[in-house]
Amino acid sequence: MEQHELNKLRWHCTRRALLELDITLGRFLDNGFNNLNETQVKTFIDLVAMEDHDLWALISGKVEATDPLESEVIVAIRKH
C-alpha cells in the first residue's frame, strides 16, 4: 500500500463515531495490520467501511461474522 493510502486508512480507522472503534482499529493498525496478507487487507478495508455499530458488534463478539475471511480478520483485530 502507498503511504497516502495508509494515511487515508488510518483516518478511516481513527475518526469513527464510536470511541471503541477509534481505539481498537488504531491499535490494530499499529500492531497487527502489517501481518495481514493481501486478501486479508482487502477484507479489513471492507470491514472498516461498515457502519460503526455493526462493526463494533462483530469485534466485541455480540454478533459472529458469517464469512470465514471476515472472521479471520476479526479474530486478528481482537488480539491487539
Partner: protein, 595 residues
C-alpha cells in the same frame, strides 16, 4: 497564489445531528447549501448516542412542556436561559414528529404511538415523580436519526463535501462572516467557501481531557475557529463527567454495573462509598460518586503504579449474572482495561462526557457577542447549533436526552433564521475581503515548513494531563491556579509543533496538528473560566465553595448568577446576565437544587 472559491448561499460546517437538521431547513427552502464534514455524515459522533431524545409527548404517562422546562432549568442549576429553554421544550414535540415523518424508526407502543422511557432528571408535575420522556430507536437512536436526515438532505440537493476540514472563519471589515477556508484532505489543497451565512455544527471538544467518552473526532474545531475570529466562548467551565470510564481508554461502563451490585474500591480495597454516601453507597448520584472517586485519588488512595484510578469490582457476582445482566461489559473490560471482570476488578476514573458551554447564541441560532454595552448582539452571517453552541439551554449541567433535542430544535431554528434573513434581504452576498485565506495559509505553511519542533502527540498528551489533573470533576482552588499557568505553557508549545510527514494527500499528521490548535483554545477557555468562577454550580464543583447554609451546594447567586464569556485574544473574561424570563411561561424561581 490563487485559491479556488466555492460560492453557496449557506455553508454548514458539521454533518452530525445539528448540522444535518440545519442543512435540511435551508436546502428545502431552495437555497444553495454546502455541508462540510471531516468524516462521512453518518460517522459523526451523534451516532454514539443511544439513550434517546427527550420530548413531552405524554405517550406513556401524562406530560407537559412546562414540566420539561422546569426539569431543564433545575438541571441547569438556573444558569440556563429560560427563553431558550421554553423555546426548546415547546418545539420538542414538533421536531420529534418531523423526524418520524423523515422515516426515523422510533420504538413503538402497541397502540402505534412512539414508546417513551424514563431518564434521570426528567419528572412529572415539577419534580414530583419520574416521567417517560425519552424517545429511542432501540440502542441506535443517534444512528437512526442521522440516517433519516442524511437521506432527506440528499433528496433536498444539499451538497456534501466529505473529508473536508474547515480551517478558519472569514470576516470582512464590518465583522460580518462571509465564509470559511477549508482543507480538502484528499488533495491537501485549501479553498474558500464564500456564502451569505455560515452555520457551525462542529460538535464538542471532549478530547481536551486525558479521559473522555468522546470519540477522537471531538476536537472543538468550531470553537477554535470562532476564538481565532475574535468571538468569545461562553460558560466553558461546565463539563459533565461520567463516573465510570475505563481508565486510560475512556470507554463508558454503564451505571447498570453498579445497579447490579458493582462496588468501587480504593487501593486499600476499601468500599469507600460507605464513607461518602452511607445509605446509597455505590448507587449515589453521578456527581456524588464522581466526586468521591476524585477525592480518593487526590488523597493518595488511588490504585495502580500512578495511583490515578479506582477499581470497579464485580468479581463477587456470579459469572452468569455478569453475562446475562451486563452484556458487553465483560468484552469492554477485556478489550480496553485488559482485565476479565469475572476475575479482576476494572480500573475506572470519572470521565469527561459532554460540554455545556460553547459559541454564544440566542434561541434563533444567531451567534451573539457583547457590543457597545449590549450583551448579546448578533454577528452578521454567523450561526451555530448543537454541542459547539451555547444557547444556553443546558446551563451548568445537562439532562440526559436533552442534547439530541437541542440538535433538532436549534439546528432547525438556525436554519429558519437564515432562510428568513435571506428572504428579507438581510443577508446579501458580501464581497470577500482581500487576503481572505492568508491566516489559514500561514498556519498550514508553518506546520508544513517547520523542520524541527515538538511532537504533536507529546504536546496533546501534556494538554490532556493538565486538564485532567486541574479541571476535573472536583476542583481545587490552588490546583486550578496551577492549571492556568501550565495550560498557558502548553499553549506556547502548540505554536512549535512540527510534523515529519510533509506529503499533501491525506496528511493526517498535518490535520492532527491543526486539530490541536483548536483543542488548545478550548482547553485554555475551560481552565481559565473554571479558575475564575469562585462558586460551585451544577457540574463546576469547587472544594473551596462548599455546601453551607448561606450557600446551599456552594452556589452563590448574589455574585455568580451570570454567564462567563472568555476572550481568546488576551484571556480576559466578561459576563452576561442569565435570561431568567421565559418567552411566555412564568419564570422558574431560583431554588436549591436537590434530587
Amino acid at each position: 497564489m490563487s485559491i479556488p472559491v466555492h460560492k453557496y448561499d449557506v455553508v454548514i460546517v458539521g454533518a452530525g445531528g445539528s448540522g444535518l437538521r440545519a442543512a435540511l431547513q435551508v436546502a428545502e427552502a431552495g437555497l444553495k447549501t454546502a455541508v462540510l464534514s471531516k468524516v462521512f455524515p453518518t460517522r459523526s459522533h451523534t451516532v454514539a448516542a443511544q439513550g434517546g431524545v427527550a420530548a413531552p409527548l405524554g405517550n406513556v404517562n401524562e406530560d407537559h412542556w412546562m414540566w420539561h422546562m422546569y426539569d431543564t432549568v433545575k438541571g441547569s442549576d438556573w444558569l440556563g436561559d429560560q427563553d431558550a429553554i421554553e423555546f426548546m421544550v415547546r418545539k420538542a414535540t414538533e421536531c420529534v414528529v418531523e423526524l418520524e415523518h423523515y422515516g426515523m424508526p422510533f420504538d413503538r407502543l402497541d397502540n402505534g404511538k412512539i414508546y417513551q422511557r424514563p431518564f434521570g432528571g426528567h419528572s412529572q408535575n415539577f419534580g414530583e415523580k419520574p416521567v417517560n420522556r425519552s424517545c429511542a430507536a432501540a440502542d441506535r437512536t443517534g444512528h437512526a436519526m442521522l440516517h433519516a436526515m442524511y437521506q432527506r438532505n440528499v433528496r433536498a440537493n444539499t451538497q456534501f463535501f466529505v473529508e473536508w476540514m474547515a480551517l478558519d472563519l472569514i470576516r470582512d471589515d464590518s465583522g460580518a462572516v462571509v465564509g470559511v477556508t477549508a482543507l480538502d484532505m484528499e488533495t491537501g489543497e485549501i479553498s474558500i467557501f464564500h456564502a451569505r451565512a455560515v452555520i457551525f455544527a462542529t460538535g464538542g471538544a471532549g478530547r481536551i481531557y486525558a479521559s473522555s467518552t468522546n470519540a477522537f473526532i471531538n476536537t472543538g474545531d468550531g470553537m477554535g475557529m470562532a476564538v481565532r475570529a475574535g468571538i468569545p466562548l461562553e460558560d466553558m467551565e461546565f463539563w459533565q463527567f461520567h463516573p465510570t470510564g475505563v481508565a486510560g481508554a475512556g470507554v463508558l461502563i454503564t451505571e447498570g454495573v453498579r445497579g447490579e451490585g458493582g462496588i468501587l474500591r480504593n487501593c486499600d480495597g476499601e468500599r469507600f462509598m460507605e464513607r461518602y454516601a452511607p445509605n446509597l453507597k455505590d448507587l449515589a448520584s453521578r456527581d456524588i460518586v464522581s466526586r468521591a472517586m476524585a477525592t480518593e485519588i487526590k488523597e493518595g488512595r488511588g490504585c495502580g503504579p500512578n495511583k490515578d484510578y479506582v477499581l470497579l469490582d464485580i468479581t463477587h457476582l456470579q459469572p452468569e449474572t455478569i453475562m446475562k445482566r451486563l452484556p458487553g461489559i465483560r468484552e469492554i473490560a477485556i478489550e480496553f482495561a485488559g482485565v476479565d471482570p469475572i476475575k479482576k476488578p476494572i480500573p475506572v476514573v470519572p470521565t469527561c462526557h459532554y460540554q455545556m458551554g460553547g459559541i454564544p447564541t440566542n434561541y434563533r441560532g444567531e451567534v451573539v457577542v457583547p457590543q457597545n454595552g449590549e450583551p448579546s448582539v448578533p454577528v452578521q452571517g454567523f450561526y451555530a447549533a448543537g454541542e459547539c453552541a451555547c444557547a444556553s439551554v443546558h446551563g451548568a449541567n445537562r439532562l440526559g436526552t436533552n442534547s439530541l433535542l437541542d440538535l433538532l430544535v436549534f439546528g432547525k431554528s438556525a436554519g429558519e433564521s437564515v432562510v428568513e434573513a435571506i428572504k428579507d434581504g438581510k443577508l446579501p452576498m458580501r464581497p470577500l475581503p482581500e487576503h481572505a485565506a492568508d491566516s489559514s495559509l500561514a498556519r498550514v505553511n508553518r506546520i508544513d515548513s517547520a523542520s524541527s519542533g515538538e511532537s504533536m502527540h507529546e504536546v496533546r498528551a501534556a494538554m490532556q494531563r493538565v486538564m485532567q489533573a486541574h479541571a476535573g470533576v472536583f476542583r481545587f482552588g490552588e490546583d486550578m491556579k496551577k492549571g492556568v499557568k501550565e495550560i498557558l505553557e502548553v499553549a506556547e508549545r502548540v505554536k512549535n509543533v512540527a510534523t515529519k510527514d510533509k506529503s499533501k494527500v491525506f496528511n493526517m499528521a498535518r490535520v492532527e496538528a491543526l486539530e490541536l490548535e483548536n483543542l488548545i483554545e478550548v482547553a485554555k477557555a475551560t481552565m481559565i473560566s473554571a479558575e475564575n468562577r469562585k462558586e460551585s454550580r451544577g457540574a463546576h464543583v469547587r472544594d473551596d465553595a462548599p455546601d453551607t447554609p448561606e450557600h446551599p451546594n456552594g452556589r452563590d447567586d448574589a455574585n455568580w448568577l451570570k454567564h462567563t464569556l472568555w476572550f481568546g485574544s488576551d484571556n480576559h473574561i466578561e459576563y452576561k446576565p442569565v435570561q431568567l424570563k421565559p418567552l411566555t411561561a412564568p419564570s422558574v424561581e431560583l431554588k436549591t437544587r436537590t434530587y
